[in-house]
Symmetry: C2
Subunit: 418 residues, 2 copies
Amino acid sequence: MEESKFIEIAEKAKAASKKLAVLPTNVKDKALVNIAQSLNENSEYIFEANKKDLDAAKFLVESGELSKSVFNRLKLDENKMRDMVQGILDISNLEEPIGKVLLKRQLDEGLVLTKISCPIGVLGIIFEARPDVISQISALAIKSSNAVILKGGKEAINTNKAIMKVIQDALDKTEGFPKDALSQIFSRDDVNSMLKMDKYVDLIIPRGGNSLVKFIKENTKIPVLGHADGVCHIFIDESADKNKAIKIVIDAKTQYPSACNSVETLLVHKDFQYREELLSSLENAGVKIVSNPNEWHKEYSDKILAYKLVDSLDEAIEHINEFSSGHTDAIVTENNKNAEIFLSTVDSAGVYHNASTRFADGFRYGFGAEVGISTNKTHARGPVGIEGLTIYKYTLQGQGDIVKDYVEGIKKFNHKDL
Amino acid sequence: MEESKFIEIAEKAKAASKKLAVLPTNVKDKALVNIAQSLNENSEYIFEANKKDLDAAKFLVESGELSKSVFNRLKLDENKMRDMVQGILDISNLEEPIGKVLLKRQLDEGLVLTKISCPIGVLGIIFEARPDVISQISALAIKSSNAVILKGGKEAINTNKAIMKVIQDALDKTEGFPKDALSQIFSRDDVNSMLKMDKYVDLIIPRGGNSLVKFIKENTKIPVLGHADGVCHIFIDESADKNKAIKIVIDAKTQYPSACNSVETLLVHKDFQYREELLSSLENAGVKIVSNPNEWHKEYSDKILAYKLVDSLDEAIEHINEFSSGHTDAIVTENNKNAEIFLSTVDSAGVYHNASTRFADGFRYGFGAEVGISTNKTHARGPVGIEGLTIYKYTLQGQGDIVKDYVEGIKKFNHKDL
């Protein structure tokens, strides 16, 4: 696509975002219900498109160009479709996130300040092979009154086009819903165009592997919400309960090794008595232990675990604050004072005591749906729910009030929360 | 300064930030009281340093290299010093912003999630000639448990060094306060080093003119909190009250023309009856009206006002959403429906009805102190108080809980807010 053509898409998205910002809740919810229904009714059409992508992907798996796990994520079936539909209906049932009064304050008699939640504007969402992400992200964008420009993985191009067509048809049928609220781009060039468009695009959300996220973070001035690495740690303290330690580390490493919240580094206090038992349990669970590897920043995404013996809680915390990606880190201990120090001192989005790092997830946290997990230290951190797609503005209602009166002392502020 | 030397400063600031994160409220407040007292006791020392800067600046004003207004902002006197001291004491009296429980939720029996406010980490603050900013920003950083690296304007170098010495001495005397929480850099090269250090610096806050802020935004991957332009608008609707219109526009343009929240563009509905009277009142107040200028993006920062006649509320809103810098825009109208449309549709940090744009200010909003005004659409928007220097993390307290039990249906989440 020519850059000028992309600008046209972006301009239309911006214009649509202004209409979305004032769209009544019932129109948004009706749009979501229509999408859910449309997906249900057109599932065969989508499965056919998905079959084309799967056929093409099979060759790539055979030639080793595509991993088996990417292939599995690409595949849609009745179960995934049911989850997609239910996910959209769940989002329609979430509380209206826009127009919430966050603060109402009288500055003086008749002069009222209101802090009110509003959408961010235009979101640029870039994701890899999972086509079920499209419906979830679209639904979150609609519910939060944001326009969205989507770029899916090229392996899922037919599936994504089919899903978007079904969604678009459902939106066209929804009375009062603005056109151009959702659009789709397809090439790497389009992504590069988008990354430059800070005039139109307010937030970029990449959902995918490290290299995708790193590339995006390094090539845009637009705020990026997400995480590149998921280098999570578990520290087994001297007083850790043996069974909890074994259960938690095995869960955090083997339950879904390629997830960003699975553990990559195990730190064990030198005086933890059951060290040998812990390590042999891990080996029995198929985990390969790498003692003192050359680099501590590595995300294995496999049943491989870096391992280090530490002298103290302090050494563990120092190691984590140096090498953690700030995603999720855990301590296993029966010593509550040590747990408290760990929770307050480790500077990560999630800090856990006696629980598996795998709990770091918007659904498990009860957010209903998640945009992704952020390791940023501004705006939104950790699993990000729909709230992360909102910001606020201040309205001020006066009666002809001017600042001069306050500067000259004719009037005085009389701040009072209403 | 060599880059390696800067890295040393940044590393120490990062280390200090970890200690600040867990510093008890009373130590932080004691530090602030000590600073206030120290500034009071050493005001003569600071005035002497300030005199050096003023003497040097005088030459620059005479040769036209420095504006009279910058010179005035550079000058410290008893009044400004009293305000500085009071400002620090006010900040010490603010509510503790760290460790606030923002959400407490049971995910299941014995598995408790807590969302808790925490500092951002290391702030890089870059500001121009006003030396009184140093004490305010330092106090806000201390209260919010952030470390800070400060770069002041070169015109104020002696004053800034003296103030920092007084502050540092006060901190050294405060038992338990971490060294290296505050540091100062001096050259443009140091700023360039800092802008590259996203490993150490978590947020950059520039306080100064457009070109400073633009330069910084274009040259760093670190989040930047602030605003480059303040192109504010006032729209006089058909039904506007004549007196309110005249009062508000004159206040917004003349009360402090170089402020970022002063109005730059006046839009008047073609059917507003008192147009001629409004324009002549403005001219009588010394305002130069520029009808339909070549560019609508301009921040005059002077008693100059761009002027356009519009056919409708919609045209006014469209103009504002196209050309506003997203700072603060106002409508003057007696038509509440139009006011409502304006407040909900104009996409700016502040949107006002029948009030001067000059109210956009943290003190006027009752925030106690402000970091600056943000036109960002993520993290913090509008006047930013101490809350804008905080983020949150999630702690999870378990009993050996693992995700496998939930994936396999052995256990079920039971989300309940506590």
